[in-house]
Amino acid sequence: MAEITLRVSRYQPETDTAPTFQEYAVPLREDWAILDALNYIKDELDPTLSYRWSCRMGICGSCGMTVNGEPKLSCGTFLVDHAPGPILVEPLRNFPVIRDLVIEMTDFMHKLGAVQPWIIRDETEDDPSSELLQTPSQLDDYKQYSMCINCMLCYSACPVYGLDSAFIGPAAIALAQRYNLDSRDEGAAERLDVLSDDEGVWGCTFVGECTRACPKGVDPAGAIQRAKLVAANEAMKAFLLPKWAR
């Protein structure tokens, strides 16, 4: 069977001060994604290779890596599309590397929590026996943003986040918008404090690379620009209108 070479970034914190590349020849099977090749390396060639993965079907968001310079889900990126190789496999950019292809994601987890990505409402007035109904049009308002799987490819693609990691980033803002635009949610004002901060939506310069990198069609860049419009409107209202009229 034909083979293809993977040049995989290796970083062993016990011994290395910087990553190096190691080459592995793997079978070039038509139905193999990069993740299948990594699993083959781990099982057959080198059990010391470390990487994250779980569902191998583009749902869990664990297996994000940099493939030939582009942020990709390794389960959805096929070997044949990069033949004849060699294929460069590196950890996601813009994050500290723990080992080999494993990155440190605590920063993203904090940012995700900061935008309160859940439905906020005053439930004291809700009738517990009734449902909160939604029309298809109301569902359409936020459905696209709800497809985010927290894979962090958008953070890896974003030069703003790469240069200044204080920027809250594409996925967190897209998820904030997912709840802001939900007809059942009442938490937009609470999220605005985080979003309208200097490190919030205004950090974004609309490079648009997050949207191109997103494997789920979320369009974080669009979400951020829409959030900017809301933040600017609210700032103008706060400046011009008396409190009771806002």
Binding site: E14, N94, P96, V97, P159, G162, V207, G208, E209
Partner: protein, 129 residues
């Protein structure tokens, strides 16, 4: 935990990150072309000042504008401003979500409306001239 953090490898962004991808380069060029827009604002202010200072200074302004190097500067600035406008019109539908009767207006229609307005305003200005 502290020990582990110290052993993390921190990736650095290269100073030339904007050359690493065509889309990054397009973004940087789009941002830089805003200088051309600033130039036209300054040029307009100079024109207004010249008109305000009387016919003689207006004639001086016209003579200054007709110099070959000024024509060249303005031609280049126009090309850059057009590039700036077109690249912004390309991304505007992403930021503007308009709904009519519960349905989102498609991006192509929105961009089309922007171009139509652009040409309409240009036509009105040409007619005034």
């Amino acid at each position: 935990m502290t020990e582990l953090r110290q052993r993390l490898y921190r990736q650095r962004v290269s100073l030339f990150w904007w050359l690493s991808k065509p889309t990054y380069l397009l973004f940087v060029v789009r941002e830089l072309t805003s200088v051309a827009v600033v130039w036209f604002v300054v040029y307009l202010l100079l024109l207004v000042r010249a008109v305000g200072a009387g016919p003689e200074s207006y004639q001086d302004f016209l003579d200054w504008s007709a110099r070959p190097w000024m024509v060249a500067v303005n031609a280049v600035a126009l090309a850059l401003a057009v590039f700036h406008t077109v690249t912004w019109f390309l991304v505007t539908p992403q930021a503007m979500v308009l709904k009519v009767r519960g349905r989102r207006i498609p991006g192509a229609a929105l961009a089309g409306a922007l171009y139509a307005m652009w040409f309409l305003v240009s036509a009105v200005i040409l007619w005034l001239l």
